[in-house]
């Protein structure tokens, strides 16, 4: 079920009313409702994959309980490895099986030992990378004794399958989300109102920014050989806003929806395109995944401790793994490597933690220096996204070589992209709102401070009107990160 669908518009109020009116007296029944609603939400795509979630839930629940009980270090380690193998095994089979097989065949053929093997027609279960990482974090935290294993299967199932963030995150830590399933929930008016506002902003990002950008980005990327350098740059810029609007829009809707049910999820995006360097960008982009890799991979590897060589190795490992997490394609790995390359100079000069504060604190506008840093970081990001979006490596390389031609300095022919100029105007307006709201959890969260209700509501109506008029609602376009 897509957030931007009529189905969800019917589903959400029903679950909301049942949750706060019918099941309000029992925490356990509220959790049970969440499980049922989440399974229904997920099964709307393909009910067969529910078995995977149920199995993954049971494995980690049992492993967690055993990890709590058992004191023997060796057995505990075996239990953790078992849990990780199961989770990674699912992920590996559904997501990476064909990739590895293809590359083995290519490698053996290259070495003069051609082998024959058939790839499988495997459908990738929606959101598998997200819930797998979430359950793994639980097992690891219990193993590390940072968390006491739960004995409540219903609450644990609700934690794993919580529908607002089930298919595209934020990837919640058990230490943050799981305890919330044991706290008695009291309806919080301000929290719910704020949640609705965030949902509205998320819908704007998805339907107006992302889905419109998708149309132009798809046309340009799918026919890249037909266009000159400046148009290809425009295509990459459109994709840059598509992926941001799409994914951060999803996160906003997920976080906002959770707040309607009394849950607080972590912030997943913190205005990343206003970053002054790539390290800051990665502290602001897909925060739940970045911190997951930091806590469960980077720090165990040694993190920023050790020699410069070890630090560089660690940086490369997390960026490559992060790239590979996104998909079984060399383009994602190169995208990860490229970001690592961007990061290394900051690490070597010790400036990777220079820009920890939000840009232009206490100022309306950035300084010239800040502005040029933002523009530079943005350009590097746009360039990296080309690999992320390209079908394969040869497509990415031909796209890039197409950019660096004399046509790079010509104004793109907007007459072949009707509506593109309007979209650029919308993006400019969007960036302005994001800039003004950059100190909050999301761009319009400070609207609550506007004392006049009439003014606040007028703005909401205006956003709804813009979504209706300028939104790409001709079809329900899936969120990009569903495929990861």
């Amino acid at each position: 079920m897509l957030f931007n669908s009529l189905d969800f518009a019917v589903f959400l109020p029903i679950v909301f009313v049942l949750y706060w009116f019918v099941f309000k007296n029992s925490l356990r029944s509220q959790n049970f409702l969440i499980v049922i609603a989440s399974y229904f939400f997920y099964g709307w795509w393909d009910w067969r994959f529910l078995a995977l979630i149920v199995f993954s839930t049971l494995v980690d629940f049992i492993v967690g309980k055993q990890l709590d009980k058992v004191e023997d270090r060796h057995i505990r380690k075996c239990l953790l490895v078992f849990s990780i193998l199961i989770n990674i095994g699912f992920l590996g089979f559904f997501k990476y099986y064909n990739f590895f097989l293809d590359n083995f065949i290519t490698a053996f053929t290259f070495m003069g030992m051609p082998i024959k093997a058939n790839t499988l027609n495997i459908i990738l279960p929606v959101g598998i990378s997200f819930y797998t990482f979430q359950t793994m974090s639980y097992s690891i935290d219990v193993y590390r004794r940072k968390l006491v294993a739960t004995k409540d299967l219903v609450a644990f199932s609700a934690f794993v399958s919580f529908f607002p963030q089930l298919v595209a995150g934020p990837i919640e830590r058990a230490s943050n989300l799981l305890p919330q399933f044991f706290e008695r929930r009291k309806f919080d008016y301000l929290q719910a109102k704020d949640g609705l506002r965030q949902v509205l902003w998320g819908l704007f990002k998805k339907i107006v920014i992302a889905d419109n950008c998708a149309e132009f980005a798809n046309t340009i990327f799918n026919n890249s050989s037909d266009y000159g350098g400046s148009t290809l740059v425009l295509g990459a810029v459109f994709f840059t806003f598509q992926i941001y609007g799409d994914f951060s829009g999803y996160s906003d809707i997920a976080i906002g929806t959770s707040r309607l049910f009394g849950f607080n999820l972590m912030q997943n995006f913190a205005f990343p395109y206003f970053s002054r360097d790539i390290a800051e960008f990665w502290r602001r982009w897909h925060i739940s995944l970045s911190t997951w890799f930091r806590d469960y991979l980077y720090i165990p590897l040694g993190g920023s401790k050790g020699s410069k060589g070890q630090q560089i190795r660690n940086i490369f490992i997390i960026f490559l793994v992060s790239g590979f997490w996104h998909g079984a394609n060399w383009t994602f790995i190169v995208w990860g490597a490229l970001n690592a390359i961007y990061f290394i100079p900051l690490l070597l000069f010790g400036t990777n933690r220079k820009n920890l504060e939000t840009v232009a604190m206490d100022k309306k506008r950035p300084s010239l220096r800040e502005f040029s840093s933002i523009l530079g970081t943005f350009s590097l990001t746009v360039f990296a996204w080309i690999f992320f979006r390209a079908e394969d490596m040869s497509h990415a390389l031909s796209y890039i070589s197409g950019i660096f031609t004399t046509q790079l300095f010509q104004v793109p022919d907007f007459s072949v992209f009707p509506g593109a100029l309007t979209l650029l105007l919308l993006i400019a307006g969007f960036l302005l709102v994001e800039w003004k709201g950059r100190f909050g959890q999301y761009a319009i969260c400070r609207m609550q401070a506007i004392p006049s209700k009439a003014r606040r509501w007028s703005i909401y109506f205006l956003i709804i009107l813009i979504i209706d008029i300028f939104g790409n609602t001709s079809e329900e376009i899936e969120f990009i990160y569903f495929h990861f």
Partner: protein
């Protein structure tokens, strides 16, 4: 209780949204639906056509025929209108456009299904849910109708954001003032748009067949009409056609073919295949006079 306050606020917000919706709907009615939902049921003969029929305006009424044509009407829209007429009045004769392009897959996508829903009834749909959604929700709810949004968007983009139109007069170049090259280019574009596919639309063909069957079942005389075209357009069109007329011929129905009527009279046209108002007036007289005199069948 806080939740009651929340629900009250949400309800007020939704209510205001409904008000906003109806304000927008009246706007849409003004410049998109216009008189599409207006029909005079006091006639027994009706003309059903797409934009080729609209220039005839009310001039058909002198001949006791009501012009029920709509810009971009597809056979699906005409079928809905026909069923509506049968439900509400006594229909004796229908004049139906059977031009070369009317079975085009392009017409399948460029139709008036959102507007012609007004003429539908429960029996036109396979389920009650579809009926409610199409006839009421999509028709009256601006937020659920993509076409309405597109109309507002295009209005804003083309009228408000087009600075060249600000303060200046808007002149429309007439067909006869265009150079031969311009005429050829525009005609070619139009033909390419309609004749992209080799085969006619299955949905349009099915609808035309149903229109024929409905007329037969209700003892309605059905006459096929081919509207006048410019010489430039006809020359480029050559023999390209999805042959809607032959479906009528197979069913032993009459066709009145006027496509070459104004071959050398470009001043009668507003573009390559549409008469202008004056052309429409003259054509209405010629069409129905010829029928009365039984000259053209």
């Amino acid at each position: 209780m806080m939740i009651k306050l929340f629900l009250k606020q949400v309800s007020i917000f939704l209510l205001l949204l409904v008000v906003l919706n109806f304000l927008l709907f009246f706007l849409i009615r003004g410049f998109y639906i216009k008189d599409y939902d207006e029909v005079d049921l006091g006639y027994s003969e009706y003309l059903l056509a797409d934009s080729h029929g609209t220039p005839l305006g009310d001039f058909t009424e002198i001949h006791e025929v009501h012009n029920f044509s709509g810009q971009s009407d597809s056979y699906l829209d005409m079928e809905r209108k026909l069923r509506y007429l049968i439900r509400h009045t006594t229909v004796k004769k229908i004049y139906l456009s059977v031009d070369d392009h009317t079975l085009s897959p392009t017409r399948e996508n460029q139709n008036n299904l959102d507007r012609s829903a007004y003429y539908t009834d429960k029996e036109d749909y396979s389920s009650y849910k579809e009926f409610i959604y199409e006839k009421y929700l999509r028709y009256y709810c601006v937020f659920l109708n993509d076409r309405y949004s597109l109309v507002i968007k295009n209005f804003l983009q083309n009228e408000l954001f087009d600075f060249s139109k600000w303060g200046g007069s808007r002149s429309k170049s007439s067909w006869e003032d265009m150079s031969a090259l311009q005429q050829e280019e525009i005609s070619t574009d139009r033909i390419n748009n309609y004749f992209e596919s080799t085969f006619p639309s299955v949905i349009m063909s099915g609808s035309l067949e149903r229109i024929i069957a409905i007329c037969k079942a209700n003892d309605i005389e059905l006459i096929g009409l081919r509207f006048p075209l410019t010489k430039t357009y006809l020359d480029i069109l050559d023999n390209e056609s999805y042959n809607a007329d032959s479906i009528l011929t197979i069913n032993n129905l009459h066709i009145i073919d006027f496509d070459s009527l104004y071959m050398e009279q470009d001043y009668m046209f507003r573009d390559m295949d549409h008469l202008d108002k004056e052309g429409g007036e003259k054509f209405a007289d010629i069409l129905f006079d010829s029928l009365e005199e039984k000259k053209v069948y």
